[in-house]
Amino acid sequence: MSRLAEKFAELKKNGRKGLITFITAGDPGLDATSDLVVALAEAGADVVELGVPFSDPLADGPTIQQASGRALAQGVTLKKILSTVKSLRRRTEIPLVLMSYYNPIFSYGLEKFVVDAAAVGVDGVIVPDLPLEESLSLRNLSAGKLAVVPLAAPTTADARLQEIVAAGSGFLYYVTVTGITGTRRSLPPELSASLDRVKKIAGGLPLAAGFGISTPEQARLVGRHSDAIIVGSALVEIISGSGTTAAGLEKLSKFVLSLRQSLDGLSGSE
């Protein structure tokens, strides 16, 4: 069983909700990325998403756009990220998922990407600009090697969602808001009902929900109706504000721990 599948099986067995944390790889630098992943794992994250920086991140808000820009200014590339993952695998077994726009992967070569990513210990890939119809090649090449995590949105109709779920692997990434990434003061009022509907269709594919979640309260709200929550921009903001000094890492760990405790407060309550 893959690290990702094992993790979700373990969460289910223990009646716990998953915490998926996103950081942009190479922000502020690739060495820092390794330390950050280890810190996230120790603070209670179940899965880490590593954002591959892209020049034109059209599904992202200002926070992740800027992180992407900082990483690119450091000369970060997909190739360098893969080699960072390789060395990181000596330090942690936490499931790692790459989040990359399609062009860096296409440019790297789809087949080579799948082989290299699986070899260094990447567990899955999320491609925000590769909808169902365009993802067939990547899915075929990835079968048995990498999970290709599909996305669904509030605008996705049920019939289409069924097809997305059938083609997906790893988990289903449900985008909680009609919009781009970034922290939000409030989440849509209909979110709980939407998540319940999506959860039914997702069946055995774990449901993770992200976009806009930045507080323990929001984590609890979303966690109650999903298998896992995804937090990104809020972490990226902490990293860009406090850096990766001991104090910065501690601030990050405290925040992740607060999310963890918020989710664990839900255990056994259903």
């Binding site: 034109d56 808000g61 062009n103 600009d129 909808p131 365009e134 949105a153 985008v175």
Partner: protein, 400 residues
């Protein structure tokens, strides 16, 4: 020439290997709805009659096909005709597309239009359509373009649109497009995104082409009426490529050479250019697979051109297809060559072309030796009023 299958795109929006729909899942439903509306109304007699009425009475179509005898003499070419899109309302071909898409938006019940703009011509054309049909309008424009196209910014505001400055990346058309897509992802329920060129996810490249085909349909009819023969060659400038596809498409099945002229900026070898068909490789930007300026690692490179409307690292997927099929040929001219062509057209014909359109004229100048006995049509896609500040700065030695 090779006879290829030009009944493209397929139902997934592919022109051969190019096109498709590479967008966040949030937009798929809206693109499906748009596609359904386009498929319905492109064959709907009432819609087409209404569109035709606006194009005729409001936009001033058909635009003239003007024989430029002084330019012929200067270039030693048998016959040169200018398709005068610069005489269309708002001063460029862009209005053909925005009127068409705004009519679609009204039928789809959308209340708000958004657009990206480079030179400002598409922004002005969108603001115009919004004013005409009573829709609200916001236009994303790079800060660098706002500086160099101040007049068009003011025109958009006069027309009631809000111009939103974009400060990310190269602060030009590419980044304005990113912001427009982000807006659409967020406001997709009540908003229609009018893409200004034959780029973006399916159905945009094919839909915008259909709205711009009128240029070639008219030109073909006009030259047959005047000369009883088809032209030997048609030239058009290519940024995203909507004016070029518009004039090329009705000639695809004819024995007519089609030449697209990209912006070589400071020269292809300098790396500072906007010529993905000449010097790029396939990749995905703004929703479709096409030739693209990109680094070895698949990051999009900044384009460079004196012409804000051509300053874009991508190109419409149908152009990539026509290039690979060998049906159209793509060349490039530098900033300086375009400026020389602009001045030539001013002095010989009394026409100030847009810097974009000057690239098409420069393409003809570059190939003039091979055109001595030919009948040439140039798509003069827009007028140059918007560029006079740029030109004046250049003359004063303050140009970039």
């Amino acid at each position: 020439m090779t006879k290829a299958n030009f009944t493209v795109p397929d139902e997934r929006g592919y022109f051969g290997d190019f096109g498709g729909r590479f967008v966040p899942e949030t937009l798929i439903t809206a693109l499906e709805e748009l596609n359904a509306a386009w498929v319905k109304y492109r064959q709907d007699a009432d819609f087409q009659a209404e569109l035709e009425g606006w194009l005729k009475e409001y936009c001033g179509r058909p635009t003239p096909l003007y024989r430029a005898r002084k330019l012929e003499a200067a270039l030693k070419i048998k016959e040169v005709y200018l398709k005068r899109e610069d005489l269309a309302h708002t001063g460029a071909h862009k209005i053909n597309n925005t009127i068409g898409q705004a009519l679609l938006a009204v039928r789809m019940g959308k209340k708000r239009l958004i657009a990206e703009t480079g030179a400002g011509q598409h922004g002005v054309a969108t603001a115009t359509a919004a004013a005409l049909f009573g829709l609200s309008c916001e236009v994303y424009m790079g800060e660098k373009d706002i500086e160099r196209q101040a007049m068009n910014v003011y025109r958009m505001e006069l027309l009631g649109a809000r111009v939103i400055p974009v400060s990310s990346g190269s602060r030009t058309l590419k980044d304005a497009t990113n912001e427009a897509i982000r807006d659409w992802v967020t406001n997709v329920a009540d908003t229609h995104y009018i893409i200004g060129s034959v780029v973006g996810p399916h159905p945009y490249p094919a839909m915008v082409r259909d709205f711009q085909r009128i240029i070639g349909v008219e030109a073909r009819r006009q030259i047959l009426a005047e000369r009883k023969v088809l032209p030997d060659v048609v030239f058009a400038c290519v940024g995203g490529g909507s004016n070029a596809i518009g004039i090329f498409h009705p000639f695809l099945e004819d024995e007519v050479k089609l030449i697209g002229v990209e912006a070589a900026g400071s020269g292809i070898a300098s790396g500072a250019h906007s010529a993905p068909l000449s010097a790029g490789r396939p990749g995905v930007l703004h929703g479709s697979m096409s030739y693209l300026l990109q680094t070895e690692d698949g990051q999009i490179e900044e384009a460079h051109s004196i012409s804000a409307g051509l300053d874009y690292p991508g190109v419409g997927p149908e152009h990539s297809f026509l290039k690979d099929q060998g049906r159209a040929r793509y060349i490039s001219v530098t900033d300086n060559e375009a400026l020389e062509a602009l001045r030539l057209l001013c002095r010989t014909e009394g026409i100030i072309p847009a810097l974009e359109s000057a690239h098409a004229v420069a393409g003809v100048m570059l190939e003039a030796a091979a055109l001595k006995d030919k009948i040439v049509v140039i798509n003069l896609s827009g007028r140059g009023d918007k560029d006079v500040a740029t030109l004046a700065n250049l003359e004063a030695g303050e140009g970039e």
